[in-house]
Subunit: 138 residues, 3 copies
């Protein structure tokens, strides 16, 4: 994991085998980020994606085998008390040209991760939403 930060925007370069969420959380702590939006591209492996189900208030999860092009990573960094919380959605491209995606539950870098963290001046927070049983941005 390498970070190139100008104080507002940080290019986070991840290498094969590095975990996506944990790396962004580590960067959040080191850079003391009050809040941020995140974008990125690259190639993942062992990507677990989720689809939220209203009835069960839980994610239906699927883990992909093999390499997937990370076509679009979008999300944000917020705080849940004194813990950084990373919320990411991913669009993934597969070898046959098909595309899948969802809430990114977890993933490991397959080739490279080129992730950009754009800090906000305002602290962004989450709290439990009782209707959905989810930590939503407040």
């Amino acid at each position: 994991m390498k970070m190139h930060s100008d104080g507002i925007v940080t290019a986070l370069v991840l290498e094969k085998g590095e975990p996506v969420h944990e790396s962004i959380i580590r960067a959040s702590r080191e850079l003391e980020i009050p809040g941020a939006f995140v974008t990125g591209i690259g190639a993942l492996k062992e990507a677990c994606i989720g689809y939220f189900q209203l009835e069960s208030k839980s994610y239906k999860e699927v883990t992909l085998e093999g390499l997937a092009e990370l076509l679009a990573l979008n999300g944000d960094i917020t705080w849940k008390g004194d813990e950084p919380f990373v919320h990411l959605h991913a669009v993934l491209g597969l070898e046959d040209g098909s595309v899948t995606g969802g809430h990114l539950v977890r993933a490991v870098i397959g080739v490279t991760g080129e992730i950009f963290i754009h800090k906000t001046g305002k602290r962004l927070e989450r709290a439990i939403n009782e209707e959905f049983g989810l930590m939503l941005m407040t």
Copy 2:
């Protein structure tokens, strides 16, 4: 609708039932945004997506039933005279792992909308393009 703005970047937090375009237009007016790019994630319902057809110079529209994960929201805020104009494209994830998307004609928040508006210092404008019959950025 809640807004957390540092003067450049605004985190726009939308709740279930709030309309996407109208909420961003309201934020554009309140924040006096001369132009912006927009990114975001969340979950939508009643999403109407369009595909532009060259022959008819119009959008072929499809409205999705039920909840869709908003995997990637991208677009911008520009001005059409004294009216803010929000142009959005969306990538949507469905329960079976499939992905669809298009020009986002309209949509309502299904669970949450975590939308980031990054202001530009320059005013961005649109005008009618005669070849396509579309309001294009100038």
Copy 3:
């Protein structure tokens, strides 16, 4: 190609027939961009997308016929010595509602390109990675 720059964010407006990569490279030179992340939407034609194959260390490429909605363009501008290097991934929407995408090898604007280049203060660079035979961000 028109550019509206406030010194940090540039709105790059591309017209029908303009090439995506070459236009961003030209903007990178004119704006003397040390590094940037890129997002955008629009409609492309003649889009060539690639999927990286670990075995052959090369991209399996497919060129799309006709118009495709550019649902999400994500990537970055870095430097390879004294040459700007544009790395883009695209999610594309087709007329039947299906979605495809991949590493964007090349593409021409089909209707319009609304591309945002957000400069980083830090210079971002690439170098060859021997394991993958790819120019990766360092």
